[in-house]
Every structure is written in structure tokens, then in C-alpha cells.
């Protein structure tokens, strides 16, 4: 394999891995923009999306093999239902944990989401036990070969789904009244409320939207990387790094951050050592936090005040 095709292969792999980070990061950004909360249960939406989809489409023993879920739905229907169910879970999270804590500081709310992460992980362990699960690839068939590098159909699905979600979000935020209302909340909640926008409804919507994006992300990667009850942690962390790379406020930034992180990791693992794969993500995080902190200090304000609204 020539260096050129090897580089191209790293690029393909990096973009595929990065697309997932981008989707998780998008979830972070949507909630953060509207409510100021960093939702550390974001990765768990992906985990839940994948495991619910598996349960709906294949015979799965659940709850300690007490029940056997035998719905056997066709994959597309299972995916749609799973995304709807996880969106509902996002709404439940908002109503049960975030809404009642209205008026609490942002830091408290963030801590609540960490609690929610553990709750989701624990419930998933009870429901699906500790085994990892896989899904069939969406379309069977050989991979594409471009200059000696391989791009599989599932990779195309991952990249395609990310692109479609990004486009849909763009249209939603830019072209619909509801989307504009969400953005108004993000820019200035008080002013938005004075304009008659229901900030609570917008916060609920942001949770539902992020949950749906997260679920979709989890579902598209499961055919090649599998999903277990504890996969959410790792996804949240990588997605968080990607969101920070993109500035935490911009959807485009989140996607660029995710893709860059995926490419850094893959190229680093390929050319330096696979042992540094995860270290790269966190070195990037530290570097960015350090730079942003010094910029913030120079501006005479801390990032926290900005975030705290």
C-alpha cells in the first residue's frame, strides 16, 4: 500500500470516526445553546438509541433473561421507532430532572446531567446486561475502493447521516419559526421571553432534538463498533472534546471539531502509536481549554460568566 493510499485510508477512517464525534458534539451544542447546560448524558442517548434499535429488530433477551423481546421489526422501522423512543426519553429527562431544578445554577444542572448519565448506564445494565450488541450493516455489499483505500457502505451511511442531520439542523434553525425561536432563546433568553417565546418549551425541544441526534449517531455506528451499556461514557467524552474544539456554541464548529478530532486520532494512531489514540483527544482538549482560558483572562472575563448567562 502506497503512502498516498495509506493517507487516504486514514482520512476515510478519520472522517467516519469523526462523524460520530460530530453528531454527539451537535447534541451538546443544541442543548448548550438553548439552556447553557452541558449535558453529560449525551453519549447515553447514543447508547440507548442503539440498544433500543437492537431490541426492536432482533430477538434479544432482556432484564436478566426474564423477558425475550421478539418484535423482529424491519430495520428501518426499528430505527425510526428507536429515535422516537429516545426523543421521548430526552423529554422525560427534561421533565424529571432539569425542569424541577429551574432556577438552580448552571453548574448544579450540569451535575444533574452527570447523575442522569449514571442512571441511564445503570438502567441499561439492568435491562441489557453487560454484553455488547451489534446491528446488521444497513446495506450489504462490497466496499468502494478509491486509490487503494477502502470506504465501506456503512462508512458512507455514517458520513451521509451526519451530513443530512447537519443540513436539516441548518434549515430548521435558519428557515423555520420554531428554529428561530430556539436561536433567540440562545442569544438572549430574557429578550426572547419578552417576545412571547416560551423558554421552557424551547428547552424541552432542545433536549428532544439532542436525544434524537444522539440516538441516530449510536445507531449508525453500531454495525461496526458495537454498543454496550457502558459505551456512553466514551462517546460523551469524545463528543465533548469535539464540541469544545468547535467553540461549544456553533453547529458548524461542532461538526468541524468532530471531524478534526477523528482525523487527528486516526493519523496519530497510524503514524505515532496506537497507544496514544485516546491521549490525543485529551491533549487537544487541554490545549484548547488553556488557550481559551488565557484569551478569556485577557478579555477580562471568565468563560464561566459567559456560559452562566
Amino acid at each position: 500500500m502506497a503512502l498516498e493510499s495509506q493517507l487516504l485510508q486514514y482520512l476515510f477512517t478519520g472522517v467516519t470516526v469523526g462523524s460520530i464525534y460530530a453528531l454527539i458534539a451537535l447534541g451538546f451544542v443544541v442543548i448548550h445553546n438553548v439552556t447553557g447546560i452541558v449535558n453529560f448524558a449525551q453519549g447515553d442517548f447514543a447508547m440507548l438509541g442503539a440498544l433500543v434499535a437492537v431490541t426492536l429488530t432482533t430477538r434479544t433477551p432482556i432484564f436478566n433473561r426474564v423477558f425475550v423481546a421478539d418484535f423482529d421489526l424491519p430495520l428501518p422501522l426499528g430505527i425510526v421507532l428507536s429515535v422516537l423512543i429516545v426523543s421521548l426519553i430526552g423529554a422525560v429527562l427534561y421533565f424529571l430532572a432539569i425542569r424541577p431544578a429551574k432556577g438552580a445554577s448552571i453548574v448544579s444542572l450540569i451535575i444533574i446531567t452527570i447523575g442522569a448519565h449514571f442512571a441511564f448506564q445503570g438502567l441499561a445494565l439492568i435491562a441489557w446486561a453487560a454484553d455488547p450488541y451489534g446491528l446488521p450493516v444497513f446495506t450489504r455489499g462490497g466496499p468502494l475502493e478509491i486509490h487503494g483505500a477502502i470506504l465501506t457502505r456503512q462508512n458512507l451511511w455514517v458520513i451521509g447521516v451526519t451530513a443530512v442531520i447537519l443540513l436539516a439542523l441548518y434549515l430548521f434553525f435558519e428557515r423555520t419559526m420554531l428554529g428561530k425561536a430556539l436561536r433567540a432563546c440562545a442569544i438572549n433568553r430574557l429578550a426572547a421571553r419578552l417576545m412571547g417565546i416560551d423558554a421552557n418549551r424551547m428547552a424541552l425541544l432542545s433536549f428532544v432534538l439532542s436525544a434524537a441526534i444522539g440516538a441516530m449517531a449510536g445507531i449508525v455506528i453500531t454495525p461496526s463498533t458495537f454498543m454496550g451499556y457502558d459505551s456512553g461514557t466514551f462517546l460523551s467524552l469524545k463528543g465533548f472534546v469535539a464540541a469544545i474544539m468547535g467553540g461549544m456554541n456553533s453547529a458548524t464548529g461542532a461538526v468541524v471539531g468532530g471531524l478534526l478530532l477523528g482525523i487527528f486520532e486516526t493519523v496519530g494512531a497510524g503514524f505515532i502509536s496506537s497507544g496514544y489514540k485516546d491521549a490525543i483527544a485529551f491533549i487537544v482538549l487541554f490545549a484548547i481549554l488553556f488557550v481559551r482560558m488565557s484569551v478569556g483572562v485577557r478579555k477580562g472575563q471568565s468563560q464561566f460568566e459567559e456560559v452562566g448567562m
Binding site: 500500500m1 503512502l3 495509506q6 485510508q9 486514514y10 477512517t13 467516519t16 470516526v17 436478566n64 433473561r65 424529571l96 430532572a97 424541577p100 431544578a101 429551574k102 432556577g103 438552580a104 448544579s108 451535575i111 444533574i112 447523575g115 442522569a116 449514571f118 442512571a119 448506564q121 445503570g122 438502567l123 445494565l125 439492568i126 446486561a129 453487560a130 454484553d131 455488547p132 450488541y133 451489534g134 446488521p136 462490497g142 466496499p143 475502493e145 477502502i150 465501506t152 462508512n155 454495525p223 461496526s224 463498533t225 458495537f226 454496550g228 457502558d230 459505551s231 466514551f234 486520532e265 486516526t266 493519523v267 494512531a269 497510524g270 502509536s273 496506537s274 497507544g275 489514540k277 485516546d278
Partner: protein
Amino acid sequence: MNARHVLLVVAVSLLLVAVVAACAPAPTPTPVPTPVPPTKAPEPTKPPAPTAVPATYKIGVVVSVTGAQSSLGVPERDSALMIMDQVNKAGGIKGPDGLMHKLEVIVEDDASDTTKAVTAAKKLLEQDKVHTLQGASGSPMSIAMAAEAEKAKIPMISYASSSAIVYPALTAGTVVKIPGKPDHTASAGETWVYLARLYGAKEEDLMKANPDIKVGVVLPWVFKTPQENYPVSSVQADYWKAKGVKKVASLGVNNAFGLDSRLGMKALYKEAGIEIVADELFQPGDKDFRAQLTKIKGLNPGGLVVHATSAEGAAITVQFRELGFKIPIVHNHGIGAQAFIDLAKADADGVLFPIGKVLVADTLPDADPQKKVLLQYIKDYKAFTKDAPISTFGGHAWDGIQMAVTCFGKVGSEAAKVRDCYEGLKNFIGISGVFNMSATDHTGIAKESLVLVKIEKGKWVFVPADKYKDN
């Protein structure tokens, strides 16, 4: 109730949910409850026994019921509990004192975490005062536990494969004199056994040439039941030789299990004249291996050797197929569980790996000494777990617990005697092999206990040695 109160209530209830979830017993196929023995009226002719009930023989088992290695830990736990159930239903173990002793198997979950394994081992040794320690599922946890067993002088049987569990490693950087060859500088994980294989020498001769190195061949109190990585690598090398493959790439997990498997590979492949063109690593729990596989693809090897357990091994296999490799993929015995096939699905077809005989028990020739024991174990295990899939890991635990049951029956529960009994086990027909322990061999299984297995249409198929080149 103001907002802050509500927040508090929510936070507390979330915490509760999290705690409850964390403490929830790991999913168990409900073991068949031990039937209460019919209460017998005290026999009037005999005076009540002067001594209390005969002491219970206690085995402490640490396995990974949750976490990355749960596909190992769950069948291990179930096999151990199954034997306890069988023994106690039969009245217990008849000790050397002629009394029937109940058997208690205490299982602790280490959640695939080394620190938790040590904590669990300490709890079993100090609080439960077990008579023998067993586990863990993984090599890193077993190595850490072995140190505790040595300190407490309680015999331990590990269910993990790394030779470093029973053979203490030389300190990295130690310069070892090799008779008739240049000096060798030891790197991490190397043992006398490894050096003996690498240089075709005897352990005793190497030790004699290096009187300053105060490391023994074995840890006196520690044994293990899974096959060593050396015979596993040896079967793999036989396969590559039969296929005429001279250059292979390796992808291994970066922990004690992977290290040991890779050391076995390096020693045995060198002997067989097979070059290892890439020695790539990944971290335990990794999901994406495409970067490493891409690098390997660039080197054009004739085959790929993987050192991994089921979850990671399956992801590697799926991504290996995704990247369009056209070379054979050979795993080690870490993937001998149905979970591997369930995860990798059609991509598992064509995967080869050396493993103990339990997976292909029904296709073995009747003359095989293990066949009867294997078939009985499979039947009992399926009945006990309500049809859970068979894996080799449950067999490792079965061997360990049965060794303990045998030795308790022979010598009672005194630690030093049980240890001597373990070391003296000869011709012990188990699931992982026929064991012949000795003072320098605390595994006791030879290459003959392994077979090469191929996955075809989601089933394990036995590949006889004369068919290697066609597979």
C-alpha cells in the same frame, strides 16, 4: 416547596437510582434453588453429635461479571455456582475426617478492573477467610491477585491464560546470561519459561547460569487452568507453516494477556521461521481498530494474528473484513465464546483459532480421554443456566473448582496441604485439558489439549492437523 428543595429531591433520587443501579446484582441466570433437604427427625438412638456441624469448605472466586470481560466472567461464575449446587445436593464433600462438609463458593465481581479484583481478593481472604482463592477472569487482575495469595499463603487457581500469573516475570532491564549465546536484556513480562523457549534451553540451566537473579520458576501458591499461550502460539505456527505463510502481522491488546500472548508468539514463531512484520497494539475497551488495520494493510503481510477477547476481537474481525483484507485471520483462545460469533455475525466465518476441546466436544473421536467429561459438563451447564451458550471460560472455572473439591476431599482445608495437593495433581481430566501439575509446571496442560477450530456459518468446526493447509 421551592425550586431548591425540588432540586435537592431530584438530585437525591437520581443518586439513589444510580446507586441502586450500581449495586444491582449483576444479571444472573437464576440458579436453580437448592432444594431444602427434607427435615429428618433426629435419630433417637444416637446422642446429638458432640461437635458442631463440620466446617464449611470455602472457595472465594473473583471473576469479571460486568465490564469488558463479562463474556468470560459470566460462564465462569455460573460453572462455579453449578458445582457448588451439585456438591451440596449430593450432601457435601466427604473430608479426610470422614464427615460431610458443605461447600460454599463466594463469587465477587471485579467489573474487569484490576483494583477492584485486588479489593475483592482481600475481602475474600481477610473477611470470608476462604480456603482457596480462584480467578480472576483476566490476566492483569489475576497477576495482581496472585501477589495477595502469595502474601496470605492461600493457594490460588487463576482462570486467565497469561504465563506471568504463575511464572514470576524478571525485572525489565535485567541482563540475563545465556550459556553459549550473547547476553539477553529482559523486557516487560519475560519469564524463565519464555527465555527457555526463545533460546531452546532448559529453565534450570538458565537459572544456574544466573545465580544472582532471585526469581523462581513458579510462584509457589499460584496455579492456573487455561492453556498457556505457548502451546496456543505453537498451534498457530503449525498452521502458518502448513499454509506456507512466512510474514504475519500482529494486533494485540495492551495488557498482561496481550503481552503474554505476544511473547509466546515471538518465541514460537521465531522457532518456526515466521517473521512478524507488525506488532500493533490497542487499549482494552477500544472500539475502533481501523487505524491499526490500515497500517497493517500497508505492510502486505500473509496473515493476521489477533490477541484479544470476544468483544474487541469481534470488532477487529468486522473492521478487518470492512477494509477488504484477503488474508487469513487467526485469533488466540481469547475468543472462545458464542458472544464472538453473535457479535461478528457473518464476518466471523473463516476465523481460525486454537482452543480447548469443549467447543467441538461432539465431533471428537470417542477415544479422546476428555470426551465423556466434556459432554457431561455441557449437559449440566445447559441445564443449570437454562441453555446459556457454552464457552471455554466456564470450563476453566470448572477445572479450578473441581480441583479444589478433589483436594478438599483428600486433604481437608489446611492451606499448605491444599497447595501440595494442587501441585501433585496428575492425570486430572478437566475441561481445558488433562492436567499434570508439578513443582515447575503450575498449568500442567500440553499442546495436545488444544485443537484448531474454524468458524463456519456461525458454528465451531474442528480442523484436524492434516487439513490446515486447506483452511
